[in-house]
Symmetry: C2
Subunit: 365 residues, 2 copies
């Protein structure tokens, strides 16, 4: 953990001067940059050290403990985020990622723009040593037991060794940031039996099962899990390729929204139903709190030299504060170092190609 | 349409003696064989000609119009349905499929056991000429607009040409059995843009777009659809590989069950909530009817020489009757012949490999 050239907190701040600094991009939130800044204030009140990037004039009144870098340019809505992240060095998300890459902050939080965060993070924070591919992980708001799914879209086509690394990356996230001890990791498939699945899943299953025989202690491999097991809590972490994971995530979101919408619509359809809905509402509140996506901070960008968190653009300040606090927790627990160590022990790090002269070449993933 | 050696209906039956005969396997239903037989009675009352296979002693009182073949052996719960279908010629599902293969019936209905139906159908009805792979299609109970998803599990690994055929097969199902005129076909992907997707999706997209340029008139290709579009009615038919489709289907089922379960649980949690639930229930009934999976008959087995329908094992007699009536509708409309014709016009039929001497070799899929 290198605190780097982080700004010192003002006297009287709750923040520990040695605690990690979180670089926060304020652009990309549906409710505007001030909502993200308000989330940063909430997080700072709980001791987080925050370095804000965004349109300073729009961020509202902020305490002295929060340093602001005026960065009004946003690429959150860019059609082609990869190209925008390359060609817009003054974009707030690029500046925030660069602050992390240069050691002025120890984790990145940027609202809304997953594609831009992935691109800006990969270009400026860089892949961690020995990692094939960064991945996006999302703690699904499953009642009673959060389940982390990855990859949810960074890599449409994956190889076996990518899936194996996702298992370690997801397990490290679950144990450091999401309070799950020795997470149970499942492999998403079209059947529970080990011989069921696509060619990729069969290979990944064999590789993960072999890790289990070798006695990995950072997670338990519970084998294949089906689509129907995602909600059942059969696993704490579910690994899959980014194509399947992205479809699964968006499908879950739209099915649950459709169902809640239908209940809401039914509860507006007659006087009798309105009364019923009003009486039922308090009882449903507990369930809605349990499936509140803001509670777990959003999506996590794993596999870079520092942790990234991408809260959903529609989050409120409470969700942005969660994202910042969880980013800090991940940085404090050295999630990146832990992942590296576990992968190294498992012999699952990517080896850099070695030239004839023995020099390391840059790896290209 | 060859009525074959179908049994003549008794005098006074509503059934047209030239109408297709539906072979129905009664084993595999959660409520037992008598529930399937009761569904057959309902279908017969609407004019269907049914040939029942199952434990005759357990089927209850049946009208003379329904012919029964005593077939007490069930492989519906077999661990390995492929091997069971091969080695159990006396199984009711095998006998029913053989009746279809031999022309004594023109479509197959078997409850519950998708794997066994796929195996028994493939062995005994055989793949239709020019089809690479049979597929399982399921009309999803989406409110306001049923959406047919395929493949939902017959083929874990697919190639481009399989996906293209699925589009034609699904479109033929939608237009003949599900009352959709010129169905809109979408390709499930992790992004709407044509350049988003796995390598397979990029290839399949290009092939389907090319078909569209050539002016196919049996469906409209609407491009990629995301997981979030499945519920939105952006497409009437959504094609994907059987790995992704199976995960998507089971995920949708479990998310909607979890949501309904949570509402039910909330509505039992206090006296006030119970009253609310009771008042809201009638308004929710319309929604529940709309998402009733029994209404569309179950899963459809496409790509064989005859249509197969696999109603869910938990269906009641109403669902089994639907399955039989829709199987009949597909047979009457010659869904298999229509699919063949459309694939032929599109140049998308599988060509039999030709030996040096010009003789056709059996194709092996």
């Amino acid at each position: 953990m290198t605190p780097g050239a982080a700004p010192s907190p003002s006297p009287g701040s709750l923040a520990d001067p040695l605690s990690p600094v979180i670089a926060v991009d304020c652009n990309g939130a549906d409710l505007g940059p001030a909502e993200v800044a308000a989330g940063a204030v909430l997080a700072a009140e709980q001791g987080a050290r925050v370095l804000l990037f965004g349109p300073a004039a729009q961020l509202g009144e902020l305490p002295d403990t929060i340093e602001v870098v005026d960065a009004p340019v946003s690429i959150a809505k860019a059609q082609d985020p990869v190209s925008a992240a390359r060609t817009t060095p003054q974009a707030s998300i690029v500046l925030a990622a660069r602050a992390v890459g240069e050691g002025r902050a120890q984790a990145l939080v940027c609202a809304g723009a997953t594609g831009a965060a992935l691109a800006a993070g990969t270009f400026n924070i860089k892949r961690a040593r020995g990692i094939y591919r960064p991945a996006l992980a999302i703690p699904l708001p499953v009642p009673h037991h959060p389940v982390t799914l990855l990859d949810v879209g960074a890599n449409a086509d994956c190889r076996r060794e990518h899936i194996v690394q996702f298992a370690f990356m997801g397990a490290a996230l679950a144990s450091t940031v999401l309070d799950v001890q020795r997470p149970r990791v499942g492999l998403l498939s079209n059947g529970e039996e080990s011989q069921r699945g696509s060619a990729l899943v069969l290979e990944a299953h064999a590789a993960l099962a072999e890790q289990a025989v070798d006695g990995i202690d950072v997670f338990e491999f519970v084998g294949n899990v089906e689509g129907g097991d995602v909600m059942s809590g059969a696993a704490d972490v579910i690994v899959t390729d980014g194509f399947t994971g992205n479809i699964a995530l968006k499908l879950m979101e739209s099915v649950s929204q459709t169902m809640l919408g239908a209940v809401r619509e039914a509860a507006m359809s007659s006087t009798r139903a309105k009364l019923g809905g009003a009486l039922l509402r308090p009882a449903l509140r507990g369930f809605r709190d349990e499936i509140d996506p803001e509670a777990s901070g959003g999506a996590y960008l794993l596999g870079l030299r520092r942790l990234g968190v991408v809260p959903h653009g529609r989050f409120t300040r409470a969700g942005f504060a969660q994202a910042i606090l969880r980013a800090e927790r991940g940085a404090r627990a050295d999630i990146v170092g832990r992942t590296h160590q576990a992968l190294e022990q498992a012999g699952a790090l990517k080896r850099s190609p070695v030239s004839a002269a023995g020099a390391s070449l840059p790896s290209t993933g």
